[in-house]
């Protein structure tokens, strides 16, 4: 179940949190409300705790995630003095973290509450067997319908949103754009024309940071909304192994071609093979580079490293060859889940904790410790009155209907080798066509391992 993979997980580890864009209209809706709610009413949070209870919360093992977990635990303890939340900051990032969560769930050793991705990675947890249904909790009616589908199976609803949604696109330095008199491109040709002008001005036009391999995937994963706009049934056909929906064919091949072109045209920073994400962001903030295909969620790193330049950075969608298809690709937030191994008083306490995270007090903590990177996916949480330009740009595209969800929320398939394959394409080791064909093989292996029909 790699779908949602590395790109999200790594970004979450780096940047903080994600969320869902409330007004995304492209998908879903079918699971809203009652049909997703099959919890057992007798154990819902209406019961009161008789005794002091201690529960544990599993978070990522990076300092930012642990600090966030502690902020939630402290805030909740004030609201509910009978419950103490202990932080288990032991989940590694990336694929190792997925295996860690699966192992803990399958051995009944999971913490009472854990934070994890929504979408395809959530589906891989076998939720109907391993997670407590939360469909009857009072806060469920406030959750955005699009988000509900990403934490639901056909049998139940399992997760409470934590954090905000975020976009994937091109982070760009607005000062450089203004200085050179450039406007935001809506077609790939315009993007290349802008890039050539930027290069002529002695500034790096396009940043790539293969020192963190997951960052190589943006041209492909961050332009998925463009593919959906060109062919709304693409994700469905792709999941069903329909020969027309392959990466070796258009419109999906575009992402691979663009990865190759920026290298072949000499538009990349010279240290693309070794530069890391955090250092790339510094160059972007300082105006040494102008454009960086990236996830909006990483803006929290700029807040740490270059606080005065945060609002010099904006985001626009990765442009499609055909400008009419250009859309911003959006990722839903992660969620808090409760495993079936949590029962009795601990279950009551865990449900209270999860409900508190999306209460007004909980939202205030989220706004404080998690740099919002897009809208929340529950109506009880509101963004602070002043947000950075990446968030306001993201909101603008979403409100104009110029946004679509990432592939990992529409299909369970993502090949594990995408980042390596794209590094080969983006370093001139192989061509876009070779890379796309190789990735189609990689996807096939994943689909077969998932036991999906139509792939054997």
């Amino acid at each position: 179940m790699k779908l949602a993979p590395r790109i999200t997980r790594s970004a979450l580890a780096v940047g903080g949190v994600a969320v869902l864009i409330a007004s995304l209209t492209g998908c879903s809706g079918g699971l809203g409300g009652g049909s997703a709610s099959t919890g057992d009413k007798s154990v819902t949070s209406n019961s009161d705790l008789q005794h002091d209870t201690t529960i544990t919360l599993l978070t990522g093992n990076d300092p930012a995630s642990i600090a966030q977990g502690k902020a939630y635990a402290d805030g909740f303890h004030k609201a509910e003095p009978k419950v103490t939340v202990k932080i288990d900051g032991s989940k590694p990032a990336g694929g190792d973290g997925d295996n860690y969560v699966k192992t803990k769930l399958s051995t009944g050793d999971m913490d009472d509450v854990f934070l994890y991705n929504s979408g395809s990675l959530f589906q891989a947890l076998d939720p109907d067997k391993t997670l407590q249904p939360l469909g009857n909790e009072p806060w469920v009616e406030d959750v955005d319908a699009n988000f509900k589908t990403t934490v639901s199976t056909s049998k139940g609803f399992y997760g409470a949103p934590v954090g905000t949604s975020f976009a994937g696109g091109v982070l760009y330095n607005k000062k450089v754009y203004a200085k050179l008199g450039l406007s935001v491109p809506t077609t790939w040709a315009q993007f290349l024309a802008n890039s050539k002008k930027i290069k002529a001005a002695g500034i790096t036009p396009v940043l790539q940071t293969y020192g963190d391999t997951w960052t190589a995937q943006l041209f492909v994963l961050g332009s998925f909304a463009n593919i959906s706009a060109a062919d709304s049934s693409w994700a469905k056909q792709y999941t069903a192994n329909d020969a027309s929906a392959k990466y070796a064919k258009q419109p999906a091949l575009e992402g691979f071609q663009h990865t190759q072109q920026v290298h072949d045209l000499g538009l990349l920073n010279k240290d693309y093979a070794a530069l890391t994400n955090v250092n790339g962001l510094k160059e972007l903030a300082e105006g040494k580079a102008a454009q960086y295909p990236m996830l909006g969620v990483v803006i929290s790193n700029v807040q740490q490293s270059n606080p005065d330049q945060v609002n010099d950075i904006g985001i626009f969608p990765l442009p499609a060859d055909n400008g009419a298809d250009t859309r911003l690709t959006v990722w839903e937030p992660g969620a808090a889940y409760i495993p079936t191994s949590t029962t009795g008083d601990k279950l009551i306490a865990a449900k209270k904790f999860v409900a508190w995270m999306n209460s007004s007090a909980g939202c205030a903590v989220q706004n404080k410790v998690v740099a919002p990177s897009g809208p929340y996916s529950i109506s009880t949480c509101k963004l602070p009155s002043t947000v950075n330009t990446v968030v306001s740009d993201t909101q603008q595209y979403v409100q104009q209907g110029k946004a679509g969800v990432a592939l990992e929320f529409l299909s369970a398939i993502k090949g594990p080798n995408l980042e390596k394959i794209l590094i080969q394409v983006g370093s001139g080791i192989s061509t876009a066509a070779q890379g796309a064909a190789l990735y189609d093989e990689d996807v096939k292996k994943q689909a077969q391992q998932l036991g999906l029909s139509g792939w054997n």
Binding site: N99, K102, L105, S427, I429
Partner: protein, 308 residues
């Protein structure tokens, strides 16, 4: 590997080894003394090994398993990275093994001769062996960073080209091999020194009486008589090279792209991707391949042992 390491001992010890082949006499201890060791072996080695044969035939999500016959083996052997991984594995294994034999022998020759601060130099050569492989990988990754690393800064300062050690697709595997040789050369040197020191001085004295030059002494006495040590170094470093993983993972993760991927890293990535059945099948294949290499090699070694 115990038989291989005893290779380095002087010929006189060969007789001791032969005692093993005598018919068994009645043991002074009852058989059930054996039970605790057998229980641990069965629980932690035999059962997991046989379980892995079963799981290699299933699609395994950690939550449930579905029996799919030999599908995993077919998928593993069709993996486009497999050939690539095998080629890199053998290139890496042979190159590091050859470099360790040649350099290790030269260093051993030097360090068994009359040099100043011999004890200190011996310790220095051996020191990298004691350091964690992952630590070595991370240190070299930073030292050899193409733009911010110390090595390229020095090269740049004297006007030499600054290669992308770990980031150039044509260099990455060889850079890792170089780091591996730096780290592993101490063991090779140590084994060669043991072999050289064990050669009786009378041979050299007799040859000198006959007027042999220093080069002649090395060529006709030291090299032939340290052959058992050489066999040990070859085997240890070849096996180590063929199954090497940690240093590759710590420096390049198999990259850029797949240019430094070896079999172990291909299998590891499948495990990481959650393909548990598939990666178990890969390990079964690796087990068979390593066995196919090791059985004739240890047979060869044991045969030579008797020849001594």
């Amino acid at each position: 590997m115990t038989t291989t390491t005893t290779q380095a001992l002087p010929p006189a010890s060969a007789g001791l080894l032969r005692q093993r082949y005598r018919p068994r006499t009645r043991s002074a201890y009852p058989m059930w003394f054996f039970l605790p060791a057998v229980a641990l072996y069965v629980v932690f080695f035999a059962i997991p090994t046989f379980a892995s044969f079963y799981f290699s035939l299933t699609r395994w999500t950690l939550f449930d398993t579905t029996f799919i016959g030999f599908g995993n083996f077919v998928a593993f052997l069709q993996d486009p990275q497999l050939i690539n991984g095998f080629v890199h594995t053998f290139e890496y294994g042979f190159v590091t093994s050859a470099a360790k034999v040649v350099l290790g022998f030269l260093l051993a020759l030097f360090l068994t001769g009359p040099v100043i601060a011999r004890g200190y130099l011996r310790a220095v050569i051996f020191f990298p062996v004691l350091v964690s492989t992952i630590g070595v990988g991370i240190v070299f990754k930073n030292l050899l960073d193409p733009f911010h690393g110390m090595v390229n800064a020095l090269l740049g300062a004297v006007g030499l080209p600054q290669p992308g050690w770990f980031t150039d697709p044509n260099m990455a595997l060889w850079t890792i091999a170089g780091v591996d040789v730096w780290k592993g050369i101490g063991i090779a040197t140590l084994i060669f020194m043991a072999g050289i020191v064990a050669i009786p001085q009378e041979y050299y004295e007799a040859a000198r009486m006959d007027g042999a030059s220093s080069w002649r002494l090395v060529r006709t006495i030291t090299i032939p008589l340290s052959r058992p040590a050489m066999a040990t170094v070859v085997i240890l470093s070849l096996i180590g090279g063929l199954r090497s993983f940690d240093i590759i993972w710590a420096t390049t993760g198999g990259g850029p792209g797949f240019t430094s991927d070896v079999i172990a890293s291909v299998i590891y990535k499948e495990y990481q991707a959650g393909f548990f059945g598939l990666s178990t099948a890969g390990n079964v294949v690796l087990f068979i391949v390593v066995t196919a290499v090791m059985v004739p090699v240890s047979w060869l070694l044991n045969r030579k042992q008797v020849d001594l």
